[in-house]
């Protein structure tokens, strides 16, 4: 791996930038691997990286149907936070935040983690009570989260409108200072480069068509558009398409796939200092380093794989943004798009073993998977390498729906998060 540093940049400047090499290889698939990861997004690439770096499993491949990070990794609003209600969730998401903090150094790749603070707005009495409950629960779990009244919110985020006459007035907010954003593409590319350097084969344009199982029911191979590849272990990290992939192995998963939309504005000078979320009126906003406002909407109401969504959903979000931030009323939106998110009944993810020996799954992150990218990969890698879950992801097993051990973040937040 070509190490990136200020010195290498300087040296290449002297050589006319002729010495840069591709960040990862484009290998042909081998006939067999020790493990295969299905899905070359952030989660899948992180899984491969941690399998290689922490568990010494380097004869592995990542199979990606399209291009790296072209699914939800490239379609989300890049928000990172960990102030979830339940201890299991707070531990899971905080595991990821701790990895984010050192990730650029570890990968020798600038993932641009920017802990600029995530402010969640409260618009009614229920919000205030719910957020304060979160704050107290987070304090007990050792996760930072603090209450700001409306004036303090305005001070933290000057563009915010806190006029009392609004349809959804700002009554205060919960602030997680360690929360923020990272650069989504850099996350996928950084993990891909670091995994490739450790010998992982990253194979793009390779769609898995079927999963073969032996006489005992264990996985033995995958059939792909680039041939049959034998393997004893498969990690599925396919987000919105998890149901489709798991059906190839005959496993039903409690998931429904919904479009989630986002949009960006024209780029402007730095104007917005933090991340602001409003779960009540479904608006999520931050400003990228390029200067675009990155705005997230809610999910569409119905299951779909269309990677679009109704315009009225985006419109509803922009109504809320314009009321909360009047200075953005004349901004023009450049692009909008949808990603397909896999939602579980309790709005908590599933990371763990499946009824099929050798088949492992990381799914169900719903609308909040990006923030967990390094953590999810780290835990799935542990589960695959040891054939048993890490204590952090043990509560997030597939069995919990049968056993009634839900981690009900849906009820906790009262909305999609």
């Amino acid at each position: 791996m070509q190490k990136y540093s200020a010195f290498s940049l300087f040296l290449e400047g002297l050589r006319g930038q002729q010495g840069w090499r591709p960040q990862w290889r484009a290998p042909e698939p081998k006939p067999a691997y020790d493990a295969i990861i299905i899905g070359g997004g952030g989660h899948g690439l992180a899984t491969a990286y941690y399998l290689a770096s922490e568990h010494g499993l380097t004869n592995i491949a990542v199979l990606e149907r399209g291009w790296l990070g072209g699914g939800n990794t490239g379609r989300n609003t890049t928000i990172v936070r960990s102030n979830y209600l339940f201890e299991e969730s707070a531990e899971l998401y905080d595991h990821a935040v701790k990895l984010w903090e050192g990730l650029s150094q570890e990968l020798n790749y600038n993932v641009m983690y920017s802990p600029r603070g995530v402010l969640m707005l409260a618009h009614n009495v229920h919000d205030i009570q719910s957020f304060k409950r979160h704050i107290h629960a987070n304090r007990l779990a050792g996760v930072d989260n603090e209450w700001l009244d409306a004036e303090a919110c305005k001070e933290f985020c000057p563009p915010l409108n806190i006029a009392p006459g609004m349809r959804y007035p700002v009554l205060g907010g919960a602030l997680q200072r360690r929360g923020g954003t990272t650069r989504h593409d850099a996350v996928a590319w950084g993990f891909a480069r670091a995994a490739d350097a450790r010998g992982v084969d990253i194979i793009q344009n390779c769609e898995v068509k079927a999963i073969r199982r032996d006489a005992n029911g264990a996985v033995e191979a995958v059939e792909t558009t680039r041939g049959v590849i034998r393997t004893k272990k498969i990690g599925v990290s396919a987000a919105g398409h998890t149901s489709v992939v798991m059906a190839m192995a005959g496993v039903r998963v409690p998931l429904e796939s919904y479009p989630l939309q986002a949009l960006v504005s024209e780029p402007v000078k730095p104007a917005f200092p933090c991340v602001v979320m409003s779960n009540t009126i479904h608006a999520y906003i931050s400003q990228s380093d390029k200067g675009e406002l990155v705005i997230g909407a809610g999910t569409d109401a119905y299951v779909s794989y269309s990677q679009r969504g109704g315009l009225h959903i985006a419109n509803h979000t922009l109504d809320a943004i314009c009321e909360l931030f009047p200075m953005f009323r004349r901004m023009r939106m450049l692009r909008n798009w949808g990603g397909i998110v896999d939602v579980t009944p309790d709005r908590s993810p599933i990371i763990g073993k499946t009824p099929v020996p050798g088949l492992y799954v990381n799914c169900g992150w719903g609308t909040g998977g990006f923030k967990a990218t390094p953590g999810a990969g780290n835990l799935l890698a542990h589960t695959i390498a040891r054939d048993e879950p890490h204590p952090i992801n043990a509560p997030f097993a597939l069995d919990r729906f049968r056993d009634g051990l839900l981690i009900d973040e849906a009820a906790a937040a009262a909305v999609a998060h």
Partner: protein, 100 residues
């Protein structure tokens, strides 16, 4: 925005409707007699197909009645809508109709 054909009121814009999840999910006759796995199947497992999906909708800002629909989840195209209680339509015939 989708245009949805309510079997009672005719074609109306999507915002008049509420989505009601997968159709034809029958509650077990005797819940006490089910195993945990069967009960979880009823509560939580849904088909989530990439393709034709049988689903319920409710015309909440119109006649307020529930009805069933078959929609392609890749294109969001409605193959048909039909009244609650009507038999599940034959998928092959529907697709033929859609292609014609």
């Amino acid at each position: 925005m989708l245009v949805i054909n309510c079997p009672y009121c005719g074609p109306r814009p999507e915002i008049e409707f509420q989505y009601g999840g997968q159709a034809h999910v029958a509650r077990p006759e005797n819940p006490a007699a089910t195993t945990d796995a069967q009960w979880a199947e009823y509560l939580y497992m849904r088909d989530n197909p990439k393709g034709a999906h049988f689903e319920r909708w409710r015309h909440i800002h119109g006649c307020a009645r529930f009805f069933n629909a078959v929609r392609d989840t890749v294109s969001d195209f409605f193959l048909t809508t039909y009244e609650i209680g009507a038999p599940r339509p034959d998928l092959d015939r529907l697709k033929e109709g859609a292609n014609r």
